[in-house]
């Protein structure tokens, strides 16, 4: 098949997936409201829990941030973006399986990998947009335009930081249809990523093995970068560049690795059939 044809099919899937997501938001207002409320629920929950056992000052010192509330809001958005990328990808495949539409989705492209990448792009953009739209009003009210401007930079970095997750999400999604279980077999991936990435606490608090694992997770670097952007100290800009390099490296390693695993799983699925 000529390259142009591949590109055309790819663009069609991106458009279809995007219109499906928008339709879902329009038709299911409760889901939309819940998606926008979740970062706030997380923020309030952690604030209430934390302050009843300790103090916000201690949290500020432990996290080395100037404004702990703003930080918690951004951290919640980062957390739910990561959750969203993996959840939307794996759940949409599981949904297709339950609804019986999976064979048609698979047949819509020459390769299922192409579908996974196309839907991954939409899902990542969608997850970022939802979460940052959600926290923008709070950032504007508490921190004013300067904070809002910083938030936009964080959104840009988040876009890059989520790219490595796309490969992981795609593998998780495919595994969920190959393994004959009722639910998502990699459902633990999301909380594990959040646990080791130290979104809401300093990594030093974790046991050594989990702290070591955190080095492999892109969300860890995203949180650190967000802290630096929020502080805006010129001396730290170099570290932001380092984080961006790390994202680039992880994107290559995880997505190449993910691509190879997906191709392997796809071959396996075609040979053995998937539980549809």
């Amino acid at each position: 098949m000529p390259l142009g044809e591949h590109a055309r099919i790819f663009a069609t899937i991106v458009k279809a997936e995007a219109s499906f997501r928008i339709m879902e938001l329009k038709r299911n207002p409760i889901f939309t409201i819940l998606s926008l409320v979740w970062p706030y629920l997380m923020l309030v929950s952690i604030y209430v829990l934390g302050t009843s056992y300790g103090s916000i000052e201690r949290f500020e010192a432990a996290m080395k941030v100037d404004d702990p509330i703003l930080f918690l809001a951004v951290a919640s958005a980062i957390a739910f973006t990561a959750v969203g990328v993996i959840d939307y990808t794996t759940n949409s495949i599981l949904w297709h399986r339950w609804l019986g539409t999976l064979p048609y989705v698979i047949m819509s492209t020459p390769s299922f990998t192409a579908y996974m990448i196309a839907s991954g792009i939409v899902v990542t953009g969608f997850a970022i947009a939802m979460n940052y739209i959600s926290i923008s009003p709070l950032i504007l009210v508490i921190g004013g335009f300067e904070s809002f401007y910083k938030l936009m930079i964080i959104v840009g970095i988040a876009l890059l930081g989520m790219v490595p997750l796309a490969g992981i999400a795609a593998v998780a999604g495919l595994l969920s249809i190959i393994v004959k279980e009722e639910g998502n077999v990699l459902g633990f991936l999301n909380p594990l990523l959040l646990l080791v990435s130290g979104v809401f606490y300093p990594i030093e608090i974790l046991p050594r093995i989990l702290a070591l694992m955190s080095k492999l997770v892109p969300v860890t670097y995203l949180v650190e970068t967000a802290k630096l952007v929020a502080a805006f100290q010129a001396t730290e800009v170099k570290i932001i560049y380092i984080a961006l390099y790390v994202f680039g490296l992880m994107a290559i390693v995880y997505n190449l690795g993910g691509g190879m695993v997906i191709a392997m799983l796809e071959r396996h699925a075609q040979k053995r059939g998937v539980s549809m």
């Binding site: 929950s45 056992y53 300790g54 639910g183 077999v185 809401f200 606490y201 608090i205």
Partner: protein, 272 residues
């Protein structure tokens, strides 16, 4: 009377047997669920500890740990019962139990027994990781029988709450977990995560009126000797009264849903 009771017990026993069989056949799923539960609990526990100076860990860690265990006990029945009621109707089990004269309440309620395994596995994992992270033994408990009593009370209340939203979901034709808007509020402002004494004034009333707050106060008393808000006897009595009240609400909501089921059929109360 004795015959009816012995038949009900026999039915409850065989229902529990079937639920355990199912749980065993889905053991990997259960372990997966327990891991997910443990990981979320740990995120909240570590977030809580980020606010706490390390010198307070010996006092805070056990209470925070058991508060999160209570959260796990509060939330698993929502899925095990509230979510499962859809399958109960849609795969036709409701009709078969109705024809057999078996209790729908008993069938659904006994599902929370094997689902407790998830909370147990997750509590063991969380306790171990917490010990590795802080060096504090989270299982350092003053009064074990009282702790167990408080947990059984929370599990019973959570089962009743899950039954209420399950039957309300049948009546309203809405998936039960979507009706679960109260659990998270119960946890944070209802005196489970935070002791009632520490909750700011008008919210104290909400906490005292939250059923879970009373066994949670007993839990804190059992773990660290922290004096309960209504006193020991007061909290025991309040726990029993609230459990009875929840049971009465279950009976009323069930009656309403059951009337619909009998007059509209399974499809009339099914969700798909």
């Amino acid at each position: 009377m004795i015959n009816t009771l012995s038949r009900a017990l026999e039915q409850a026993a065989v229902m529990t047997w079937a639920h355990f069989k199912r749980a065993w056949r889905m053991k990997y799923n259960m372990v997966n669920w327990a891991i997910i539960d443990a990981l979320w609990l740990l995120i909240f526990i570590f977030a809580g500890l980020a606010f706490t100076p390390p010198e307070y860990y010996p006092r805070v860690v056990p209470i925070l740990f058991f508060s999160m265990v209570l959260w796990s006990l509060m939330s698993t029945p929502i899925w095990a019962i509230g979510n499962w009621v859809r399958f109960y109707i849609n795969i036709g089990l409701i009709d078969e139990h109705e024809l057999a004269g078996a209790s729908h309440v008993a069938f659904l309620a006994t599902r929370s027994i094997p689902s407790t395994i998830i909370s147990i596995i997750s509590a063991i994992a969380v306790g171990t990781i917490l010990y590795l992270a802080t060096g504090v033994n989270p299982l350092r408990v003053g009064n074990i029988p009282l702790l167990l009593f408080s947990m059984v009370m929370v599990l019973s209340m959570a089962t009743a709450y899950a039954l209420i939203i399950a039957f309300a979901g049948m009546k309203l034709k809405v998936p039960a977990p979507m009706l679960d808007i109260m659990n998270i509020a119960f946890f944070f402002i209802g005196g489970v995560a935070v002791d009632v004494d520490n909750i700011p004034w008008p919210l104290t009333i909400v906490a005292v009126l939250t059923p879970y707050s009373h066994p949670a106060e007993l839990m804190r008393y059992a773990v660290s000797g922290f004096p309960p808000y209504l006193g020991f006897a007061g909290e025991v009595l309040a726990s029993i009264i609230f459990l009875a009240l929840l049971a009465a609400i279950v009976a009323v909501v069930y009656r309403i849903a059951y009337t619909d089921y009998r007059s509209l059929g399974a499809r009339g109360v099914g969700l798909t």
